[in-house]
C-alpha cells in the first residue's frame, strides 16, 4: 500500500498540527525570551484548540481508516481530542507560572506540543513500532519537562529518576514487542494470526504479552511498578505534574485499550487474571499509601496511582466476549474524561498558587487559604471532593458507571474492593480541604491574581464537574459511540443495543 500523503493529512491533520506547531515554536528563538514565552504560549494554545476541534470534527464523521502505521477511528479521535484539551488547559494554566520562574522557559510550550504529539500518535496506531515511537516522543519530552527547573535540585533529581526508570521500562516493552513479533511474524496488533506458527511460539507469545503489559503497567503507574511516580510527581514543576498525571494516563490507557482488545480473544493468555491482580494491588496500595503522605504532590501521585487502579478494573471488564466488550469501553472512556477534568482542575489551581515563584510543597502550605483566596479554595475543594467520588459530581457518576460495569460482568471482589478503596480515598482528599478551611493562616500568600482567561477556564471546568454529574446523558452517548476500528469493520454487536 502506497502512503498517500494527502489522504493522511486529511485524516490525521489534528495530530500533525501539533507537530507543526511544535516545530514552528522552536523557530521563535529569534525573539528575546520574555516575548518568546508569550508567542509560544499563544501558538501552543491555538494549536491545541485547533487540534481538539479537528479531532472532534473527525469523531463526528465517525469514519475508520487504516494507514500503514496510523489508524484514524472514533477511539483515536476521542482520545486525541482529550489529549489536545489537556494540552490546551495546561498551556493556559502554566503561562503565569512559566513567566514567574527565575528564568522564563519558553521551551516549555514547545515540549508540551511535542509530548502531546507523541501521545496522539500512541493512541492512533495498532502498530507496536509506531506506538513505541509515539511513546518515546512523549517520554523524551517529558524527561526534559520534568527537569525544567534546572536550578532546583529536586527537579533535576526527578528528571534523572524518571529517565532511568522510564528507559528500563521502554527496554522491557521493546523486548516484549520483539517476542510478540517473533511469535506472530507481525508488529501489527490487528494482524495477529488465528493460529501461531507452532505451539512453542505460544510460550513466546505469552511472555511477549506479559512484558508488553509490564511496560504499560509502568507507564500508567500500576502497583508494583509505581515507585517512580511519587518521586517524579513531587520533583516536577507543578504544571508538568498535572500534564503527566492526565496526558500520560490518557495516552497509555488509550493504547492499552487497543492491546487488550487485540489480546482479549487469545485464550492462551490469562489476561483477565493479570489485569485483575494489577488492578487490585494498585487500588489498595495507591489509596492506603496516600493516607500517610504529607506532601501535596505525593498525595496526588498516589491518587493518580489509585485512579489507574480503577481504570485497570475497567480494563479487566474489557476482556470478554463481544457484547460485554462493546459495553465495557464506554465506562473507561468516560472515566478518562472525568479523571482528566478533575485532576487538571486540581493542578491548575495549584499551579496558580505556585506562580508566586514558590512551589507549593507541603500540605501545610495550604493552611488558612480559604481566608485569603476564598474562590480558589472553593474551586479546589470541588475538584478534590469530586475526585473522591461524592455525588452529585462527575467523579461519582464515573466511578458508579465503572464499578457497576465490573459487577455486571461478575468481578464482585474487585468491584467491592474498589468501592471500599475509593471510600478510603475521601479521607486523604479531605486533608487539603481541612488545611484550607479548618486551620488558621500562618504565612502570607504571594500568588498573583488570576488572569481572566484562566478564570473563565476554571469556571467552565467547575461547571463541567456538575454538568457531567447531573446531566451526563449526552456525554455518555458520545463515549458509547466511540468504538475502535475493529468494531467498525466487523461489528461485534451494535454498541447502543446493549446498555449496561
Amino acid at each position: 500500500m502506497r502512503l498517500d500523503v494527502l489522504q493522511l493529512w486529511q485524516h490525521a491533520w489534528p495530530s500533525l498540527t501539533l507537530l507543526i506547531a511544535a516545530m514552528v515554536s522552536l523557530l521563535t528563538s529569534v525573539f528575546p525570551s520574555r516575548h518568546r514565552a508569550r508567542i509560544t504560549a499563544v501558538l501552543a494554545a491555538t494549536a491545541f484548540l485547533l487540534s481538539a476541534q479537528g479531532f472532534f470534527h473527525q469523531w463526528g464523521l465517525g469514519e475508520a481508516k487504516g494507514f500503514e502505521f496510523l489508524v484514524v477511528d472514533p477511539l483515536s479521535n476521542y482520545l486525541g481530542a482529550l489529549i489536545a484539551l489537556i494540552g490546551f488547559i495546561t498551556s493556559i494554566a502554566a503561562y503565569p507560572y512559566i513567566l514567574s520562574q527565575a528564568e522564563a522557559i519558553p521551551e516549555f510550550f514547545s515540549l508540551l506540543l511535542f509530548a502531546a504529539f507523541g501521545m496522539t500518535t500512541m493512541v492512533m496506531t495498532t502498530n507496536l513500532l509506531a506506538f513505541v515511537l509515539g511513546l518515546e516522543i512523549m517520554s523524551l519530552s517529558l524527561y526534559v519537562l520534568v527537569g525544567l527547573r534546572r536550578y532546583d535540585p529536586r527537579s533535576g533529581e526527578a528528571a534523572f529518576k524518571y529517565f532511568l526508570l522510564g528507559s528500563v521500562a521502554t527496554a522491557f516493552l521493546l523486548f516484549g514487542i520483539s517476542f510478540f513479533y517473533g511469535s506472530t511474524g507481525t508488529l501489527d496488533l490487528s494482524r495477529i494470526p488465528e493460529l501461531l506458527p507452532n505451539p512453542e511460539m505460544a510460550t513466546l507469545f505469552k511472555l511477549g504479552a506479559l512484558l508488553i503489559l509490564l511496560g504499560f503497567a509502568f507507564k500508567v503507574g500500576a502497583v508494583p511498578f509505581h515507585f517512580w511516580a511519587p518521586d517524579v510527581y513531587d520533583g516536577a514543576p507543578m504544571p508538568v505534574t498535572g500534564f503527566m498525571a492526565t496526558g500520560v494516563k490518557v495516552a497509555a490507557f488509550g493504547a492499552l485499550i487497543r492491546v487488550v482488545e487485540a489480546f482479549a480473544p487469545r485464550h492462551e493468555l490469562p489476561l483477565q487474571r493479570w489485569i485483575v491482580m494489577l488492578s487490585f494491588a494498585t487500588m489498595i496500595v495507591g489509596n492506603l499509601v496516600a493516607l500517610r503522605q504529607r506532601h501535596l504532590k505525593r498525595i496526588l501521585a498516589y491518587s493518580s496511582i489509585a485512579h489507574a487502579g480503577y481504570l485497570l478494573l475497567g480494563m479487566a471488564t474489557l476482556v470478554g466476549t463481544g457484547e460485554i466488550r462493546a459495553a465495557a469501553l464506554s465506562p473507561i472512556l468516560f472515566y478518562l474524561l472525568v479523571y482528566s477534568l478533575l485532576t487538571l482542575g486540581v493542578f491548575s489551581v495549584l499551579t496558580i498558587l505556585s506562580s508566586g515563584g514558590q512551589e507549593l510543597n507541603d500540605l501545610k502550605d495550604l493552611d488558612g487559604l480559604s481566608e485569603k483566596r476564598p474562590v480558589l479554595s472553593a474551586v479546589l475543594s470541588v475538584f478534590f471532593i469530586s475526585l473522591a467520588g461524592v455525588p452529585p459530581t462527575a467523579g461519582f457518576l464515573a466511578k458508579y458507571y465503572l464499578f457497576s460495569q465490573a459487577i455486571q460482568v461478575g468481578l464482585y471482589p474487585l468491584a467491592i474492593a474498589g468501592i471500599l478503596a475509593s471510600a478510603v480515598s475521601l479521607y486523604y482528599y479531605l486533608g487539603p480541604i481541612v488545611r484550607m478551611y479548618f486551620h488558621s493562616h500562618e504565612k502570607t500568600w504571594q500568588a498573583p491574581g488570576v488572569m481572566a482567561s484562566l478564570r473563565l477556564l476554571l469556571a467552565l471546568m467547575v461547571a463541567g464537574v456538575f454538568y457531567l454529574g447531573l446531566f451526563p446523558a449526552s456525554t455518555l452517548e458520545i463515549s458509547r459511540r466511540t468504538v475502535p476500528i475493529r468494531a467498525l469493520e466487523a461489528p461485534l454487536a451494535s454498541p447502543s443495543a446493549k446498555l449496561p
Partner: protein, 506 residues
C-alpha cells in the same frame, strides 16, 4: 397533568439564597442572614400548604412529580412524592430549618459560607425525604453529608476537626453499604429501575435479588447504613462528639432532622423493599431499640456536660422509635413516626436551651450552674416545658407517642416492652436531676447578672413549645395525617407471616 410543582419548589427554594449570597458586599454581612432567613420561608409556607392540602384518606403517593427520565442511560428518574410518612418529616424539616436560621443569628465567622452551607443542607434534607427514586435519594443523602461536615468542622467547638471527621467517616461507611445495595438494584431489578414505589412489587426483584441470602445481605447493609444515622447502638459513638462540638443550630438540625432520616430510611427501604426479611429480623430491631432506650438513658444520667446529656437522651428517645416501628402494630408504627416528629420538636428545644446558657456562661458543666431560676426565671420556665415534654409528662406531646409505642409493642414483644418501660423512670430521673442541679439550690454569684432569655431566643422556642403543647392535648391532626399510610406499610408485611395486630382498632 402538569400541576404546581410544590415538592420541587420546597426542595430547591433554599438554593435561591445560595445564588444571592455570594453577591452581597462584605460590609453588609447582616444582610446575608436576612437573605438566608427569607429563602427558607417559601419552603415553610409550602409546608403549611402541604399540611392543609394533604389527603388523609389514602395511603397512595400524593402530589407526585415524575417519574421523568433524568439520566436515561442508567434508568435514573426524577421522582418525588409524599405519603403520610414523609409529609410529617417535610413539615418538621421546614419548621426546624427556619428556626435554626434564627438561632444562627450570632454567627460571626465566615458568615456567607455558613449560611450557604446551611441552605444547601436544607435542600439535601428536603430532597431525601421527598425522593422516591433510589438514586435520587442517594444523591440527596450525600448532598447532606458535606455541608454538615463543614458546618461542624469550621464553626464547631475546640475538638471540631475530630468530631467532623468522625461524623464523616461513620456516615460514609453507611453510604458505601447503601451504594452496594443501590448497584444491586440497578443490575437485578426488572427494567433496571430505581423507582422505589415500583420496586415494592417483589416480582421486579430478579436474579440474585430474589435469593434469600442476597436479600438478607441487602437488608442488613441498608439497616446498618440507616442505623448509623439513627444512631443505633453500637454505631452511636459519633453522635455525642458531633453534638458537643457542633454549633447550637447545627446540633438542632442534627438531632431534629438528620437522625430521623435513619428511621425514615428503615421504614421506606427495609420495610417496603424487603418485607420478607423485615418480618424475619424485626425482633432484633426491637431488641436494638430497647438497648438504645436503656443504654442512652443510663449514659445520659452519667454525663456532666449538659449538651452530651441531651445527646444521649436523643439516643434513648430514638430507641423508642425503633421499638415502635418494630412492633408491627398500627399503633406502634404510628407512635414511632409520631415520636420522630415529637423528638424533633422537643430535642430542638433542648439544644436551643443548652445553646442559650452556653452563650452566657461559655461552659456546659451541669454541676457548675445552680440556682439559675432566680437569675433567669423566664429561661427556667421554657426549660421546664421542654424537659417535661422530653420525660413524657401527660398533656405534652412526648407522652402520646411513647404511650402509643408501648401499647403497640406490648402486643408483640411484652417482655421487651416491660424492660423498656423502666426507662420512663430513668428518663424522669436524669431530667429532673438536671433541672435541680441547674436551676435550684443556691445561686452561683457569677451568674447573678446574666440577662434573661431575649426576644430572638423566645422566637425560636415559642413555635416549638406551642406544637408540643398542642400535640399533647389534641394529637389528632398529626395522627390522622399519617395513620393511613403507616397502616399500609404495616399491612404489606402480613403476607410474609407477620402477626399484625391492632390494639385500638386504628
Amino acid at each position: 397533568m402538569p400541576h404546581f410543582p410544590i415538592l420541587t419548589l420546597i426542595t430547591f427554594s433554599p438554593l435561591i439564597g445560595i445564588l444571592i449570597i455570594p453577591f452581597i458586599p462584605k460590609a453588609k454581612e447582616s444582610l446575608v442572614k436576612w437573605v438566608a432567613l427569607i429563602s427558607t420561608l417559601p419552603a415553610l409556607g409550602l409546608a403549611v400548604k402541604l399540611f392543609l392540602d394533604f389527603d388523609r384518606t389514602t395511603k397512595a403517593i400524593q402530589m407526585a412529580e415524575g417519574p421523568i427520565d433524568w439520566i436515561k442511560p442508567f434508568h435514573i428518574q426524577y421522582y418525588m412524592g409524599i405519603d403520610g410518612l414523609s409529609v410529617t418529616m417535610v413539615i418538621l424539616t421546614a419548621l426546624i430549618s427556619t428556626i435554626c436560621i434564627i438561632a444562627s443569628w450570632g454567627i460571626e465567622k465566615q458568615v456567607k459560607g455558613y449560611f450557604t452551607l446551611f441552605l444547601l443542607l436544607e435542600t439535601g434534607m428536603m430532597g431525601t425525604f421527598l425522593a422516591l427514586d433510589f438514586f435520587l435519594f442517594f444523591i440527596f443523602w450525600e448532598i447532606m453529608l458535606l455541608p454538615m461536615y463543614f458546618l461542624i468542622g469550621i464553626w464547631g467547638g475546640p475538638r471540631r476537626e475530630y468530631a467532623a471527621i468522625k461524623f464523616f467517616l461513620y456516615t460514609l461507611a453507611g453510604s458505601v453499604l447503601m451504594l452496594l445495595v443501590l448497584i444491586a438494584f440497578y443490575l437485578y431489578s426488572d427494567g433496571h429501575t430505581f423507582n422505589l414505589i415500583a420496586l415494592q412489587d417483589p416480582k421486579l426483584h430478579l436474579g440474585p435479588l430474589s435469593s434469600h441470602g442476597i436479600r438478607l445481605a441487602c437488608w442488613i447493609g441498608l439497616f446498618i447504613a440507616f442505623a448509623i444515622k439513627v444512631p443505633v447502638f453500637p454505631f452511636h459513638t459519633w453522635l455525642p462528639d458531633a453534638h458537643v462540638e457542633a454549633p447550637t443550630a447545627i446540633s438542632v438540625i442534627l438531632a431534629g432532622i438528620l437522625l430521623k432520616l435513619g428511621t425514615y430510611g428503615i421504614l421506606r427501604f427495609n420495610y417496603q423493599l424487603f418485607p420478607d426479611i423485615t418480618v424475619e429480623l424485626v425482633k432484633w430491631v426491637a431488641v436494638l431499640g430497647v438497648i438504645n432506650i436503656i443504654y442512652g438513658a443510663l449514659c445520659a444520667m452519667a454525663q456532666k456536660d449538659f449538651k452530651k446529656l441531651i445527646a444521649y437522651s436523643s439516643v434513648s428517645h430514638m430507641g423508642f422509635v425503633l421499638l415502635g416501628i418494630a412492633s408491627l402494630t398500627a399503633e406502634g408504627i404510628t407512635g414511632g413516626v409520631m415520636q420522630m416528629f415529637n423528638h424533633g420538636t422537643i430535642t430542638a428545644q433542648l439544644f436551643l436551651i443548652v445553646g442559650i446558657i452556653y452563650d452566657r456562661a461559655h461552659h456546659r458543666d451541669i454541676n457548675g450552674f445552680g440556682g439559675l431560676a432566680t437569675a433567669m426565671p423566664k429561661y427556667a420556665v421554657w426549660t421546664t416545658i421542654a424537659f417535661f415534654a422530653a420525660l413524657g409528662l401527660p398533656g405534652l406531646s412526648g407522652f402520646i407517642s411513647e404511650a402509643l409505642i408501648f401499647l403497640g409493642s406490648f402486643k408483640n414483644w411484652p417482655g421487651l416492652t416491660a424492660v423498656a418501660v423502666t426507662s420512663v423512670v430513668l428518663t424522669a430521673a436524669y431530667m429532673l436531676w438536671t433541672l435541680q442541679r441547674v436551676f435550684l439550690g443556691p445561686l452561683n454569684e457569677k451568674y447573678k447578672d446574666y440577662p434573661d432569655i431575649n426576644g430572638r431566643e423566645v422566637l425560636c422556642l415559642l413555635p416549638l413549645a406551642i406544637i408540643v403543647l398542642a400535640m399533647g392535648v389534641y394529637p389528632k391532626p398529626l395522627i390522622n395525617m399519617m395513620s393511613v399510610s403507616l397502616k399500609g406499610i404495616n399491612e404489606v408485611l402480613v403476607p410474609y407471616g407477620a402477626k399484625v395486630a391492632s390494639v385500638l382498632g386504628m
